[in-house]
């Protein structure tokens, strides 16, 4: 077994960048911060590719099975002989795959930001935060211990909070960052309880040991966790469901998805990095990491399946009605993550039935590339027109040909049109769904059609539709000047688009099932042409429908809106989930729980402290006269004291 210790440098390099830029960036590296951050991440990316090559092609495989290798394990906090919090590095197919995804998407975002964020006052701080995020995400991926996952999980949450609230003088951004943090934090509460349940019954926090103990039906841990029950469900179900709750919070699954659309207040490259490709798939990664345990419990997997499928459908419906381009992308992200979730949910561990697992990871992989491409393309568009609203766009295909081509390819990829990347991964998911659960298959098929519809609605509204170039020229004189100043953006903005476009075309051809499966054994998959007809045809029909609605300005879309009426309005308002949350918090939680607690805090807790403080102040006010500043008074007290002590010792305490 060879040495993988150099993987340690992959997370440590961004950490070093964060420390350096965070402490000295604004003073010394105000201009060069971007170059420093990008260079350090480029090194990390190269190391990841080296690691991937070594793992997948040189020595990861033993007897045809990809091994789990613990490259480093350092016991950090030992609670008892079996329970400890370790810091370490795990090398297995999914962690190596995620290394590639995170470092390369992050690198693209770093490069893109060189142009996009140029001239920002807090340029160095921005790169420091990006590095912090990259470090936390890489740490999460490489975790060997479930508590290590939890720590990096929180770090990821914090850096996401910092980046969403990057424009901290914008109230909506501040509100969005708080919302994201609180919602995910709430979900993490479930995650923590889940970890504690698993740790308590499993007797360990080490992921490998936990999986080993809880997957053998004869082990005492497995028997105790399945026989203990609470409210009619076994503790295994509870533990896994609560862990999934944490994952659902980060991955924006219904009903914890409300933060994701608001999180689009952050700078667009940040959305591309965090809210499209990396952090939001952390939930999927978590479920995949613990998949052998999940596969032991039918109930937890069913929850994963239906939450995923429902989120996918709901988000796709909402995405059809939104007008803010980043919000459309946010909902499409949520929908695609729903795909990955239910693909995991319907999967079994190992063999042919493990197709869902492999498909989920494949979709995670391809999605990261085409979704970050979409976001970066949207970023370029926003950079050009200075607006997120569709109505301010249109006809941009002549002004920004490269972005146009990249965006079109990304849309085709997400719509699942062959031969682009999304087709292959989505096909695997649909195949898995078809074999396991026909209802889910139906939902997935319908969602796929909706996906094509809203993605092309977005595409046509931005690049075709009305001839808004003239509008941009006359109405926004300033914007027009800017547009001519930077055109499509600097080469640093175009280069990532081109690279990611190449990825969006190419990564689908990777024989993914050879590398990443639930049990490490290669799986033979093939694309069944007959099977592909249905989804591809539906997608093409949806695209044509979308083209007829939005390619030129016409009343057809308004008619469709009128046809759906109330349903459209409900979807436009995101099915009032936000309002429901507000109702629950403002009308139920605050008055019934918050206010009594606040009262107790103000009157009982604070009251006790105030009483102490007041008593002290009064006493000292009363006795401060003793410190008169007159030396003879002090002498008097001294003699008085001596006499009192003499009396005490001579006559009383004999």
């Amino acid at each position: 077994m060879s040495n993988y210790l150099y993987i340690l440098w992959i997370p440590l390099l961004p950490l070093a960048t964060f420390v350096i830029l965070g402490l000295f960036g604004r003073k010394y590296f105000a201009k060069s911060a971007g170059i420093i951050g990008t260079a350090s991440l480029l090194t990390a990316t190269i190391l990841s590719f080296v690691a991937a090559k070594q793992y997948f092609f040189v020595d990861g495989k033993v007897n045809g099975v990809y091994q789990k290798i613990i490259a480093l394990k350092y016991t950090w906090l030992q609670f008892s002989p079996n329970v400890s919090i370790d810091m370490g590095i795990i090398v297995d197919p999914i962690s190596v795959m995620m290394l590639i995804v995170v470092t390369s998407v992050s690198l693209m975002v770093h490069v893109f930001s060189l142009g996009y964020m140029k001239g920002e006052e807090r340029f160095a701080t921005y790169y420091a935060f990006l590095s912090l995020f990259t470090f936390s995400m890489l740490g999460l991926i490489l975790s060997v211990n479930i508590f290590q996952v939890y720590m990096f999980w929180e770090l990821v949450g914090v850096s996401s909070f910092l980046l969403i609230g990057y424009y901290f003088n914008k109230p909506s951004a501040v509100a969005a960052s708080k919302k994201a943090f609180i919602v995910t934090r709430f979900a993490d509460l479930g995650f923590l309880i889940g970890i504690l349940i698993m740790g308590f019954y499993g007797g360990t926090l080490d992921i490998g040991l936990l999986i080993e103990k809880l997957t053998s039906t004869q082990s005492p841990e497995f028997l105790s966790i399945t026989s203990a029950s609470f409210l009619g469900a076994s503790m295994l179900t509870w533990g896994l469901t609560l862990i999934f709750m944490g994952g659902a919070g980060k991955s924006a699954m219904f009903p914890l998805h409300i933060w994701l659309p608001d999180a689009m207040e952050g700078p667009t490259p940040v959305s591309a990095l965090i809210h499209a490709a990396t952090m939001v798939v952390a939930g999927v990664y978590l479920v995949a990491r613990l998949f052998p345990v999940f596969s032991m419990d039918e109930a937890a997997l069913t929850i994963v399946t239906y939450v995923g499928a429902f989120s996918a459908l709901l988000a796709a419906v909402i995405a059809c009605t939104q007008t803010d381009i980043k919000r459309v992308l946010a909902y499409s992200t949520m929908s695609q993550i729903g795909y990955m979730m239910f693909a995991l949910g319907i999967s079994k561990n190992g063999g042919e039935a493990g197709l869902g697992y492999m498909a989920s990871m494949f979709h995670l992989f391809t999605h990261a590339f085409f979704k970050s491409l979409l976001f970066l393309g949207a970023g370029a568009v926003i950079h050009m027109v200075h607006s997120n609203e569709m109505k301010d766009m249109g006809g941009l295909r002549k002004l920004m040909p490269i972005t146009h081509a990249a965006f079109l390819i990304a849309c085709l990829a997400i719509a699942g049109i062959p031969p682009f990347a999304g087709f292959f991964s989505k096909e695997e998911i649909l195949t898995a769904a078809f074999h396991e659960n026909k209802l889910i298959y139906g939902v997935a098929l319908f969602t796929a059609a909706l996906t094509s519809f809203y993605m092309f609605r977005l595409y046509f509204n931005i690049f075709w539709s009305k001839d808004a170039v003239a509008k941009a020229h006359h109405d926004h004189g300033h914007a027009h000047d800017d547009a001519h100043d930077h055109g499509e953006g600097t080469w640093t903005m175009k280069l990532p688009l081109l690279i990611l476009t190449a990825c969006a075309i190419g990564v689908g051809f990777i024989p993914f099932s050879q590398f990443i499966t639930s049990n490490g054994l290669a799986l033979e998959t093939h694309i069944d042409v007959i099977f592909s007809i249905a989804p591809v045809t539906l997608s093409i029909i949806a695209i044509l429908l979308s083209a007829s609605f939005y390619k030129t300005q016409n009343v057809k879309s308004d008619k469709a809106v009128a046809l759906f009426g109330g349903f459209y309005r409900a979807a436009y308002k995101k099915f009032y989930v936000d309002e429901l949350y507000l109702f629950i918090t403002k009308k139920i939680v605050f008055p019934l729980i918050g206010q009594p607690i606040a009262w107790a805090d103000r009157n009982i807790v604070d009251g006790f402290m105030l009483l102490l403080a007041n008593t002290t102040a009064k006493t000292s006010g009363a006795i401060k006269g003793f410190q008169s500043g007159k030396v003879q008074n002090y002498a008097l007290y001294f003699f008085g004291g001596v006499i009192a002590l003499s009396i005490l010792f001579i006559y009383i305490w004999k």
């Binding site: 410190q627 008169s628 500043g629 007159k630 003879q632």
Partner: protein, 104 residues
């Protein structure tokens, strides 16, 4: 020869001690206060010598103690006078009631 009883000597030393104490509390002049302290120290010396003579005539502990106290008193006088000079320089007075800055 009629010996002076111990109680007489103790009476003198007690009187001396309380005279010193009275002076320490009533005088405002810091030099007078220093003199009062010397009186109190000397009353203690008398006590030591007297007890040594009457209770342990074959030992010298009490005498040595008084010698030490006299030495310490000399040193103390030197320090006290240095303090008094500094006080006079900063307050233009050696009245203790004029130096009451260190109050609450």
């Amino acid at each position: 020869m009629n010996e002076v009883p111990l109680t007489h000597i103790l009476f003198v030393s007690t009187a001396l001690f309380f005279i010193g104490m009275y002076g320490l509390f009533t005088r405002r002049n810091i030099i007078t206060m220093l003199m009062s302290i010397e009186l109190m120290l000397n009353s203690v010396n008398i006590n030591f010598v007297a007890f040594n003579k009457y209770l342990f005539p074959d030992k010298l502990d009490g005498l040595f103690f008084s010698l030490f106290i006299i030495t310490i008193a000399a040193a103390e006088a030197a320090v006290a006078i240095a303090i008094i000079i500094n006080l006079y320089r900063s307050h233009q007075s050696i009245d203790v009631d004029d130096a009451t800055e260190m109050k609450f």
